[in-house]
């Protein structure tokens, strides 16, 4: 699980993180904090699905479920065999 956390965090930093003065953690609010917008959420979902060979239903890919790394990892975990 730590491995998934690290991978997701690294992807978010690489792909979305803009404010290099601040620090991003597993609990940093991504959607409500304005780091990941609705468009970017789509690409994040696609990244997770390709990376872990899973399919996340659209109704599960909510802003709440994507709001921090911990929540994202929990969501991914539900769909990994």
């Amino acid at each position: 699980m730590e491995d998934i956390k690290e991978i997701v965090l690294e992807y978010i930093i690489d792909e979305y993180w803009e404010d290099e003065d601040d620090e991003i953690t597993y609990d940093t609010p991504l959607i409500s904090g304005g780091i990941v917008d609705s468009f970017s959420m789509v690409s994040l979902k696609r990244f997770l699905e390709v990376k872990y060979k899973i399919s996340i239903p659209d109704d599960k890919a909510t802003p709440e479920a994507f709001d921090n790394v911990n929540k994202i990892v929990n969501l991914v975990k539900e769909y990994i065999d």
Partner: protein, 415 residues
């Protein structure tokens, strides 16, 4: 279904929910023409109050200029009130084509097509020119109307970090196999007032064989030496493939927008863009007003020069007073307060001092980035700016934020 109590209840509950979340937008009624000094009724039903407008898009102060009003009257008298039809059937007048030609000349492009608004231009252009074999790569902070246009297009979509050229280059490499690549950006980003690095973007688009789209709504008329826009500021006139802009801000302030750029792209819009094909074009009275504005701007840079000086005075004054500002050199000068409640209270206190400037907070800007967005106009005289600055400083002292850093303000008020 009839408009039953059930239906009414659904909407009432939704509206109450919006209000409970503090997201309800209450309009302030202006009982005068748009200008530096306006008569405002706020809250609704209150006695009107004369205030200085520090948050209008009236950058050149032309919204109520006597010459524009006179031209509009002449347009009304000679061309009538409305077209009563979509343009390609029976709704085009000679002045519509005249305006397209003048905009083309002013912006330094190949051709122009008018739309009812810039929102319509952005809604129509991507679908008209792209297919599922193409890719749109947009800056993360582009305007909502561009996002709507992207949603309507069949092409794939990806984003790059705000103004991050390394990230953009990575995305251009990633999507190298696509038939067409379109890089999409605002010229001036309306929330922060910063500008896109168009010189670097043109170089990257040349290198990776991509088209460049710029929405220059918050720039046309005043940015650059002669006011052409962001492309003039960055010395890339003639190198932007698609420019969309509005006539509803600096260029008269009434309504209307356009797509200006490569002639084949403009022709594609004329053939396929749905907001163009299925909506009346700009009313003759407005076309005449805009033509007058373009004539004025072609003769003299006096207004954009005054706007530049006003902006410099305002930004320097706020900085010297100790406010935290967003970096930039456009007439959009956001005063950062970080906390939504503080932004709302600050705005209300300004109103009490006779200054009209609105607080912006989530979801308009991300949580923790609440601010008062001030916008400077050539219609402001020094006495307006001095009075507004004094009011900002007075209220800044009240909340003890002058000279405080972002971190200190967040520690005092939270995010």
């Amino acid at each position: 279904m009839a408009y039953s109590d059930k239906v009414r209840g659904i909407y009432s509950d939704t509206l109450k929910d919006i209000e409970d979340k503090g997201l309800f937008k209450q309009e302030r009624f202006i009982h005068s023409s748009q200008a530096a000094d306006i008569e405002v009724e706020f809250p609704t039903g209150a006695k009107t109050k004369k205030v200085i407008n520090m948050c209008a898009n009236n950058y050149l102060g032309l919204s109520s200029h006597p010459d524009v009003i006179k031209a509009a009257h002449e347009g009304l008298d000679t061309r009538g009130y409305g077209m009563s039809s979509v343009r390609f059937i029976c709704g085009t007048q000679d002045i519509h084509r005249e305006l397209e030609n003048k905009v083309t000349e002013f912006l330094g492009t190949e051709d122009t097509i008018l739309f009812p608004s810039c929102m319509d231009a952005n809604a129509g252009v991507f679908e008209a020119i792209l297919t599922e074999d193409d890719i749109m790569i947009s800056d993360r902070l582009v305007h909502a109307s561009i996002i709507d246009g992207i949603r309507l297009a069949p092409a794939l979509h990806d984003t790059f970090k705000h103004s991050n050229m390394k990230h953009l280059e990575k995305k251009l490499q990633l999507h190298a196999d696509k038939r067409l690549k379109v890089v999409i950006t605002d010229g001036v980003f309306s929330m922060d007032g910063d500008t896109a690095k168009l010189d670097e973007m043109v170089a990257l688009c040349d290198k990776y064989d991509a088209l460049l789209f710029v929405d220059d709504s918050h720039s046309s008329g005043f940015l650059g030496k002669t006011g052409k826009g962001t492309h003039e500021k960055y010395d890339v006139v003639g190198k932007i493939d698609i420019i969309t802009t509005t006539f509803g801000k600096a260029l008269g302030g009434a309504s209307g927008g356009c797509v200006s750029g490569r002639k084949e792209i403009v022709e594609m819009c004329r053939q396929k863009a749905r907001p163009y094909l299925f909506s009346n074009t700009i009313a003759p009275v407005v076309v005449s007003g805009i033509l007058s504005v373009l004539d004025t701007l072609s003769k003299s840079t006096e207004r954009r020069d005054k706007l530049e000086k006003n902006t410099e005075f305002w930004r320097n004054g706020l900085e010297e007073a100790g406010f935290v500002l967003q970096d930039g050199d456009t007439p959009i000068v956001p005063v950062m307060l970080f906390n939504a409640k503080l932004a709302q209270n600050f705005s209300n206190d300004l109103y009490e001092e006779g200054i009209y400037a609105i607080g912006f907070f989530f979801p308009v800007v991300p949580n923790g980035k609440a601010r008062i967005r001030t916008q400077i106009s050539a219609g402001h005289e020094m006495h307006h700016l001095e009075k507004a600055l004094a009011a900002f400083i007075k209220i800044g002292k009240k909340y003890d934020i002058l000279g405080k850093s972002k971190k200190e303000i967040i520690e005092m008020y939270g995010m």
